[in-house]
């Protein structure tokens, strides 16, 4: 009796729920950030690799990205990155850059980096060293390129989380990864690419160790409006002992800021009333450290009126000194876009390997860095370029693209390059975190010397812009 009713109910069950699909792809990319989307577009744009079937899986919805091209938001979003000339070249090469919303990007020709303790400075100028671009603008142009390519073998699953990744057999050397999706489907793939950020589940699946350290610092981002448009096209960065504060230009009167500072201060900055935040941010670019420290205390005690009036006096008083030229500083900030302030923890990390049997990592899944040099996103783009080239070569050689022999050239090319860059950025951060005067004196002298050597500056500019 019991048996009969169970049979009955399972038959009823199976006809009312659609069968779960198993998909088979050559390349499955997890994560549709700039790195993941770039990889998908690049694979389909390359004449050799376009025959690979690609699946792109993203946990959150891509609707904001799709809507961006139709009706972009009035104000600038707060996740903005500096795109090097080399990255722009590659985006042009894969046919995506033509879709970028030109009205929302700002190329800059100059970089001014100055010491918050000694005011020694270094200035670089070169045509279009970098372009400030909102991350969502970049994602949108890549998505439009993918739509233009209109390849039926590229499938995107958005608003779909990955619930599990496992090999389909116990034989690890021969197994293919199978990804379980939150909609019940599964994807079996020849090559699994993790473009899924710092906490990459793909990296964990491949049991690849990632080494590094947290900086005990947070980056505070904000979208700002300047008092008036700065025609000088400069990316500013001031090195305070707590961390650098950078002001990066956007079209017209807009700008974006990244302020790397201690966890307590970052919390304070994000929570301040808007006018107080703006006043303090203005000071951060101009006033000496002793004033800033005093203001932090006032802000912590919520003595806002006192703070604002003191800032007004001190700014006037300080900038009217004969040794101070207001042209050496950024244009004053006027306002911050509401709800645009956010903070995120800063850390350095580098995966031991970017590849494993049938697994590859790109972007933040492989490495994270301090934002002070504007290299994080660009390193990811470099990864994509190298991986596509390695896969193209592997296909010409008839290799299974998930095989380590196909993937190792990618790792061999990118790991040393990235390692050096990560190391340099880390040392810069450490150097400028010290406020012990002999070190400050030496680094300031060093900076002034470098500033006066054009050949060395040219070399550094090439490195920064990636050309």
């Amino acid at each position: 009796m019991l048996r009969f009713s169970i049979q009955r109910s399972t038959r009823y069950f199976s006809t009312s729920i659609p069968r779960q699909q198993q998909h088979l792809t050559d390349v499955a990319i997890i994560g549709a950030g700039p790195a993941g989307l770039s990889l998908a577009a690049a694979l389909k744009a390359n004449p050799t690799t376009k025959s690979l079937s690609v699946g792109l899986i993203e946990g959150s919805s891509l609707d904001p990205v799709k809507n961006f091209s139709q009706s972009p938001p009035e104000n600038f979003t707060n996740r903005v990155s500096s795109i090097t000339a080399q990255s722009v070249d590659y985006l042009e090469h894969i046919g995506a850059w033509k879709f970028i919303d030109q009205a929302r990007i700002e190329p800059f020709d100059n970089i001014v980096a100055y010491d918050g303790l000694s005011n020694s400075r270094i200035e670089f100028d070169n045509m279009e060293m970098g372009t400030m671009c909102e991350n969502i603008n970049l994602q949108s142009c890549l998505l439009q390129r993918i739509e233009e390519l209109n390849d039926p073998t590229l499938k995107i699953w958005d608003s779909t989380k990955v619930t599990n990744i496992a090999n389909d057999t116990d034989d690890a050397a021969n197994g293919w990864p199978v990804i379980q999706l939150s909609n019940g489907d599964s994807v079996k793939t020849r090559l699994l690419v993790g473009a899924d950020g710092f906490n990459s589940p793909v990296r964990k699946f491949a049991a690849i160790e990632s080494r590094g350290w947290a900086y005990d610092r947070f980056g505070v981002v904000a979208s700002l409006k300047l008092k008036y448009e700065d025609y000088r096209s400069i990316a500013w960065q001031r090195f305070l002992p707590t961390g650098p504060v950078a002001l990066l230009p956007l079209p017209e009167k807009n700008a974006t800021m990244v302020w790397s500072t201690t966890p307590e201060l970052s919390k304070l900055l994000v929570g301040l009333p808007e006018d107080v935040f703006i006043a303090l941010a203005n000071c951060a670019f101009v006033l000496p450290q002793v004033d800033l420290n005093y203001y932090y205390t006032l802000a912590q005690n919520e003595e806002y009126d006192e703070l604002l009036s003191d800032i007004k006096w001190r700014f006037e008083n300080y900038t009217s000194k004969p040794t101070i030229d207001i042209e050496d500083f950024p244009i004053a900030l006027e306002s911050v876009i509401p709800q645009s302030r956010a903070r995120f923890p800063l850390k350095l990390s580098h995966a031991d390997s970017y590849v494993s049997n049938r697994v590859a990592l790109v972007g933040d899944a492989a490495h994270t860095t301090h934002p002070l040099a504007g290299q994080g996103l660009n390193m990811g783009q470099g990864d994509v370029k190298s991986l596509v080239e390695s896969l193209e070569l592997a296909m010409k050689r008839g290799l299974d693209i998930g095989n380590l022999l196909a993937l190792e050239p990618y790792w061999a090319q990118r790991w040393p390059e990235n390692h050096v860059l990560l190391g340099v950025v880390d040392k810069l951060h450490k150097l400028y975190s010290i406020d012990w005067s002999p070190v400050v004196a030496v680094r300031s002298w060093g900076l002034d010397v470098v500033n006066s050597l054009p050949m060395l500056k040219d070399f550094m500019m090439k490195q920064v812009s990636g050309k």
């Binding site: 088979l24 050689r397 008839g398």
Partner: protein, 314 residues
Amino acid sequence: MLKLSKSLVSQIPKVQGTLGKVTFSSSYTRQYSVSADEETKHFNHLAASWWDINGPQRILHKMNLVRMDFIQQNITNSISLNDKSTPQGEEVYVPGYNLNLLPKEISEQILSDQKEKRTKEYEKLQLRCLDIGCGGGILSESLARLPIVKSVNGLDLASEVVEIARKHKDLDPIIKNKITYELKALESVNKDEMYDVVTMFEILEHVDQPGEFLKEGLSHLKKDGLLFLSTINKDFVSWFTTIFMGEYMLGIVPVGTHHLEKYIDYKTLDNLMGQQKRFEVLSAKGGSYFPCYGWYLHSHPEFGNYFMAIKRIE
């Protein structure tokens, strides 16, 4: 240790004295200390670890990468840009003189036209391939994955190795149905089975009669078909790299894989081919292996390992 040095000493090549001329008409027999059966047994032992890319066959896996580069390059180069079937007006211009004599824009335009035509013709190819001495199928699988390859027939005499090859190809859906492995000698292949591509990589130094063997392989080429081979020169460099360093010192290749007495000089084969009117040597390259890096092809096939590409022109 003593035993080791004795066998090493016996293998140091005597520079003077050759193997004697090899011609197509005479089939000569060499007396070897190693028989065909022993060779087969040796490879059967390696069957289980054949596909471990970090195992004893790693050097073979790395060599496969340059083999495929060599094959692709020669296939592309041997594509004729204009033939009788090309309609008038669509011919690609191939000047009979150095392109550098023309202005830059024109020469670049000509080159890009040629490249475009070549790519178009390349994509039309559907090659039937014969892989002699396929082993575990490293080359066969790589060939099968190319979109220009229609089918691959792999032959080998070591039964366990062929079994491994069959099992391995079934793991990849793309190539499963494109490859057929047979436990068969080349001589047993049907006389009128003709192929676009015949490959004999690392096999000539394991057979008793290399001249006959090569002739047999060439007889299965269609017109305009290509035969690819790689083998090892019989000289000090080869002994040093492949046997002394490779087998005994660094253990990159299992001991007993190679036997110096069976090596063949590039010059010998080149002379052979020079006497053949129906075939033309398209390319000959030397190959060197650098541990931790891989194989590198260079333009000195006279010592060490070498690769050859031969085209049937009539």
